[in-house]
Symmetry: C2
């Protein structure tokens, strides 16, 4: 494909996003592009739908199809489920008219099709009255009609985000998936990378010219590596070009990274679209040269990610950054918010959140509020102010003393009366810590109530979420939680990366990156200084490796006692201390389930997460034994 | 079965719950019961497991099996999944050692079995490396070994609580489900009532003597009626006695009502266990007489519930009450809480919650706090106090003025500085309303921080949850939400029912039942009086019928415009006003999704709910069109 075409098609992308071209402009552009197209040109419609908003999705599809018709390409291929918008939700069951409407939008859309085949995902009713109520389908539209419908065959459920409750899967047989264009046979497979091979392996053998995969593949640590390997192998195995069309954009917690692509029959990438951007991407799968846009930096290094823990996160930082930026931007846009307010404590979590928000929403749309108490050090206050200045976001300092004192006074009156009736008042409590955290959250929600389209940000990170080390209605509360799937050690790496890679260097004061994290809510009686998080929990290097081992290797306490942690290479650690930390981890995790269920929406970033969009566990299941127990132990228990 | 046996077996129930019998007592009891048993006696083990707590569940099973062995009955049948405990959670995938442990507990348990067959649910690994990782299975244990394993065949997913992501379902074929006892053939079917028929219909025809259904069936409006009809028809169709063993107890939001039972081959109930209680229930399915414990009052009247809306909730109130009581009790017990605190506003929601808490936890364990602001009427304050006195719960009044004023002062300082940088401050806002609601929630969470094992209660009801008519970090926040699945009109009926049916009559002051609901957070400028909820929303009779039509009939705005509401029979309602209310309903519902995701755990009571344990929808899916649109409309949209 002529390289010139990619400069010109950027004008199409702009027109699709902004409707900025007149008919005359379009004719002009068409005239420039057409001669550059090869005979077998196809458009990968890497587009961003809104779940359930059929009108929006159909209008968008129509605009893209119009451009494809104009250029007279062979086909335009949309992602999985495009007309309904992925992820699906239970509204499919509760409001079935939406599925009828989806079918009707498809039919009306078909009327606008010409010779150019339109391959587009939608949700189809299962009229057989047997099995689940719907199919997750792809329609092939051309010459004014629905030419063919292909139904999803397998759901590999790689993400544990279950759609089996809505969708009947038809038996895998590649014959059902065949589409012919110009006497060339393609198989269209719907779903994630791990589904594709199973479908192609099933049914009678015959030669395919192309493989087409309509997908909505969420991004996660290690996923690109997995995906690339599978696709490359498949194209070699079937000796056919492999065309992959991925969704872009985000929905609540799920982020789709685009990077749609074509592999040749030898397993080499010959085209690749942009990551994290909509793109009207013109390719010719029968050609040998194509435009290959870069992936996030270093992501191809992720090869042993799922096998070895390392504190070197470099390979995943650009992807992490872009995922969170896209997620914030999309959540705000799709739910009607423009502005964000957050507390700036001078600590790492709120600092990284502030940078991400400034980049996602524009610095003028972010308000950082420093809300010191008497435990807040002047260093923290200065760090918060310096950060805001460096970023150019709005900033104010407002002490919480007034609210704290009034609350404390109310509590003193109340509790002293209560304890005459309830004799189980704690001698020591976290009440003062929590008054501070809640006073701050109330101020932020007050701002959200008072200023138009302003959303409160929760700054909890993943390490603390695992430990339940956050206050209900306090620092864990907010309308969106940008870093809830980023562990603390990765956040330190991300902070350094931001200082190096953003246009304005070193926005984050070095002192924030260097200081050991602490909430400044209580004094450690042992040191007489504000309690550090690691004193209350355990070293973050250790904690984050436990999380990694749980999520990636599914290890038990026993398994982890048997291996050397990265932390142990640098620090001496007794078996007692290690056992103690591991038990503390699982104990705290067991009692954090409730907090997990009330977390704000947060981008899923890691290979696995505790985001409630994908992980759920009954709160009362706190008696799970995270040690593997022996048969002898069990006999002994039942013998008593 | 001899009626005397049920008095005696209550002593077994007591021993199983409290371990109160010595070996000698047990011998004595055994001697009294044994002569009363018929040859084909079987025990329905209507027991209450804890999810994931294998040790607890295995120990419990062992105790029940010991008693069955002692009596020498033919079999003891446990509910579905008993050893793991239903509901299952994603820990099955994250911590696979739990499934290995489950198998080992089963093996160790088998060693204690004798002639009495033990039929017990567990989770089994799928070793084939094809399909989902586990089976939802039932084992038959006898004479020290695992005799047979039966795997779940179908998952009807009646509840939309999906377990398909963990479990491979084997093809339905009743031959696989056969168990022989004493030359009599039974088919064991795992799962809910709607699954059973599908399994029995599949595979070769042959005569069965008994049908056994191991279940964990959650209770909901209309479910008993559905269940009874299906079971009765099945036993007639196969001309075989039908034995149904249900779980009892609750887990977070899901409540299991027990009422295990036997139908004869003519479809008549011949035995039925207690509802909402564990019971070692001795039956003889070949006998014609058995003990039939009563169901919650009126529940058999639910026959047209899913077809017609009515404001007469009488048929469902005792079940509703018992479900919530069990849910509260179980949530507290299983998560380690003993005491509850809640705000008492003098309004209906907090009033009903207080009654339910007093009944579930004991009045001495409940603290009601009246937290008046300047908008709180003296009537409300008196009503709250009267209620607490009538119930005998603890009560204190503490004004929120101090916290309110300090917050207001902080906000005034902050907002006036902020508005010089952000020029989009609202002219009118809900900030003052929310300061009040949040001050109250902070006081309650403060109590929870300060007193041992004390949980904060959220008092939101279902009508308000649909409308998002509750303050984040305010009245919607709490550790448990007892009435979040009860609509306002049903709550009024429940309040009257409580006054009539509790031991202490009329605990709820009549004025609370008679006054129109209002949050007393703001003044209605039109009336100059505190804004009533119905002024902000719409009449509850209308609102609750919309909810019912959405949940049970899946109706759109168009559908609802075409039918007469109960409200319209008594009140004149213009088409404009009706349209306006319907559109308001769906608009508010669209923007309440975020609030639904951060609701506290709450018992599911109705036939359908928005409880996040069963309903999820992307927050950003606020562009769904709840009107069914026409083809013409769609053509017009795409033509522009």
């Amino acid at each position: 494909m002529n390289a010139e075409i990619y400069k010109l098609s950027e004008l199409i992308d702009k027109d699709l996003a902004e409707d900025n071209l007149s008919e005359q402009d379009k004719d002009e552009l068409e005239k420039q592009i057409k001669p550059l197209l090869s005979e077998n040109s196809v458009v990968l419609a890497q587009a961003n739908p809104i779940c359930g908003n059929l009108k929006y999705n159909a209008q968008k599809a129509k605009k893209w199809i119009d451009w494809a018709n104009r250029l007279g390409v062979q086909a335009i291929i949309f992602p999985e489920g495009f007309l309904m918008g992925i992820p699906f939700g239970d509204y499919l069951v509760k409001f079935p008219h939406i599925v009828e409407d989806c079918r009707e939008w498809l039919e009306v859309l078909a009327e606008y099709t010409k010779n150019t085949k339109v391959i587009i995902g939608f949700v189809e009713k299962n009229n057989s009255n047997k099995g689940k109520p719907y199919y997750n389908s792809v329609a092939v539209l051309s010459n004014g009609r629905i030419e063919k419908i292909i139904r999803k065959t397998i759901s590999s459920d790689y993400l544990q985000i279950n759609t089996d409750k809505y969708f009947e899967n038809v038996p895998a047989d590649k014959k059902n998936n065949i589409l012919e264009i110009d006497n060339k046979k393609s198989a269209i497979v719907i779903g994630e990378c791990t589904d594709v091979e199973q479908v192609l392996d099933a049914g009678e053998e015959f030669q395919l010219d192309f493989l087409i995969n309509c997908s909505a593949d969420i991004t996660r640590t290690g996923k690109e590596f997995l995906k690339h390997n599978i696709f490359s192998q498949i194209s070699k195995k079937y000796s056919a070009a492999f065309v992959y069309v991925n969704q872009v954009g985000a929905s609540d917690s799920l982020s789709y990274d685009g990077a749609s692509r074509v592999y040749d029959k030898n397993g080499n990438v010959i085209y690749r679209a942009k990551s994290y951007e909509e793109q009207f991407f013109i390719v010719d799968p029968s050609d040998n040269y194509g435009k290959i846009y870069p992936l996030p930096n270093g992501i191809e290094l992720a090869n042993d990610y799922s096998k070895t823990f390392s504190l070197d996160y470099e390979f995943d930082l650009e992807r992490t950054y872009k995922t969170i930026i896209q997620s914030i931007r999309e959540y705000f846009k799709k739910s009607g918010f423009k502005h964000a307010c957050l507390g700036l404590s001078g600590g790492l979590d709120s600092t990284v959140c502030a940078v991400l928000l400034a980049d996602a929403l524009g610095k003028e749309n972010v308000f950082g509020i420093s809300m010191p108490s008497k435990l807040t050090s002047s260093e923290s206050k200065n760090d918060a102010k310096d950060l805001a200045d460096n970023l150019g976001i709005h900033f104010l300092e407002i002490p919480i003393k007034g609210i704290f004192d009034a609350t404390r006074e109310t509590f003193d009156t109340l509790f002293s009366q209560m304890e005459s009736k309830w004799d189980f008042r704690y001698k020591q409590s976290y009440t003062n810590d929590n008054i501070q955290a809640r006073a701050r959250a109330n101020i932020l929600w007050g701002i959200s109530n008072e200023f138009d389209k302003c959303l409160t940000i929760a700054t909890s990170d993943k390490s603390e979420a695992y430990m339940g080390y956050a206050t209900i209605n306090g620092d864990m509360s907010g309308g969106f939680a940008p870093i809830a799937d980023v562990t603390k050690t990765k956040l330190f790496a991300l902070a350094k990366w931001l200082n190096k890679n953003r246009e304005i260097k070193n926005a984050i004061p070095q002192s924030i990156i260097e200081k050991r994290p602490g909430a400044e809510l209580a004094i450690n009686p042992k040191t007489g200084k504000p309690l550090l998080a690691e004193e209350a929990l355990m070293p973050y290097e250790f904690l984050d490796e436990v999380i990694w081992r749980v999520e990636n290797l599914h290890q038990t306490i026993n398994d982890m006692l048997d291996v050397e942690f990265v932390y142990e290479r640098e620090n001496s650690l007794s078996k007692e201390q290690k056992t103690d930390w591991l038990e503390k981890f699982f104990r705290r995790m067991s009692y954090s389930q409730y907090k997990w269920t009330i977390m704000a929406p947060a981008p899923i970033v890691d290979a696995h997460s505790i985001n409630k969009a994908e992980y759920s566990q009954p709160i009362i299941a706190s008696g799970i034994d995270y040690k593997k127990t022996s048969i002898e132990y069990k006999k002994q228990i039942l013998n008593n």
